[in-house]
């Protein structure tokens, strides 16, 4: 009976646990940051939020369509008053977790002049996308995003245009 109880308990714990696919461990930066965004939304919170999105609002309608099927969205973003507050080791600790065969890096941009590093990783299982990791680092800013679930990157990028940012279509431009 005891193993059965343990199994049921483990199942319940697994169901309640958040769906975050890698650890951020960036809390030490919060004290140095001038602005911190820490968003942790599991599947049930996403669905609850989706119910309150207004389909008449184009931004909210797009987001509502993106949310369907997602298991969680986790964001940590820090803005600093001066450069050098975050270290490459902070990024490396995250990169170490984003390894093949589970994860694959699809974009990596490093600008030495501007001190920027941008990376996008896709998590896939059985040929299907099951998650996205975004690392975006600037001298005075560090952002890490994990979207758990089958996210459509094109739709996500399209949102950029909706947020009053010029939309960039990589496929159509040379």
């Amino acid at each position: 009976m005891k193993p059965f109880r343990a199994l049921v308990l483990a199942g319940c714990v697994a169901a309640l646990a958040n769906a975050q696919q890698f650890q951020f461990n960036l809390d030490h930066l919060a004290a140095k940051a001038s602005e911190t965004v820490d968003i942790s939304l599991n599947g049930s919170m996403l669905q609850l939020g989706a119910k309150f999105l207004d389909p008449k609002d184009p931004d909210q309608d797009k987001v509502k369509k993106l949310i369907g099927g997602l298991e969680g969205v986790y964001v940590k973003s820090f803005e600093f008053q001066k450069a050098g507050e975050w270290t490459p080791a902070d990024l490396e600790a995250i990169r170490k977790q984003l390894k093949a065969p589970e994860w694959s890096k699809i974009v990596g941009v490093k600008s030495t002049a501007e001190g920027e590093t941008d990376e996008i990783y896709l998590r896939s299982q059985n040929g299907k996308i099951t998650g996205v990791a975004i690392l975006a680092a600037e001298p005075k800013e560090l952002t890490v995003v994990n979207i758990a679930g089958p996210v459509d990157l094109d739709s996500l990028a399209e949102l950029g245009g909706h947020y009053h940012i010029p939309k960039v279509d990589v496929g159509k431009q040379k």
Binding site: G49, F52, A157
Partner: protein
């Protein structure tokens, strides 16, 4: 007089009220009448208040979740868009 008559006489015999009966009646009459709500009404009111509070809390949580969802996707989309711009700049 048969036994029934005797019983009735004994039962209906005049009795003097206990001492201070009139005083007690007067004092009670002077006290303000306190209306007591039926218990079921109080319970029903409590249920309505709790249900209202629950709905209000759910509304609050939903609005908070919505704001967080919008902010999370705003940050993610802005970053993806910026990365696309960088890729284009490198490709040119």
């Amino acid at each position: 007089m048969d036994w029934l008559e005797q019983e009735l006489k004994a039962a209906l015999a005049r009795e003097d009220p206990p001492a201070d009966f009139a005083g007690r009646v007067m004092r009670r009459a002077e006290r303000p009448v306190v209306y007591q709500w039926p218990r079921w009404l109080a319970a029903a009111a409590a249920v309505v208040v709790l249900a209202g509070a629950g709905m209000g809390y759910r509304q609050y949580r939903g609005e908070m979740a919505k704001e967080q969802v919008m902010q999370a996707f705003k940050i993610a989309s802005v970053k993806v868009n910026r990365i696309q711009t960088h890729v284009l700049e490198v490709a040119r």
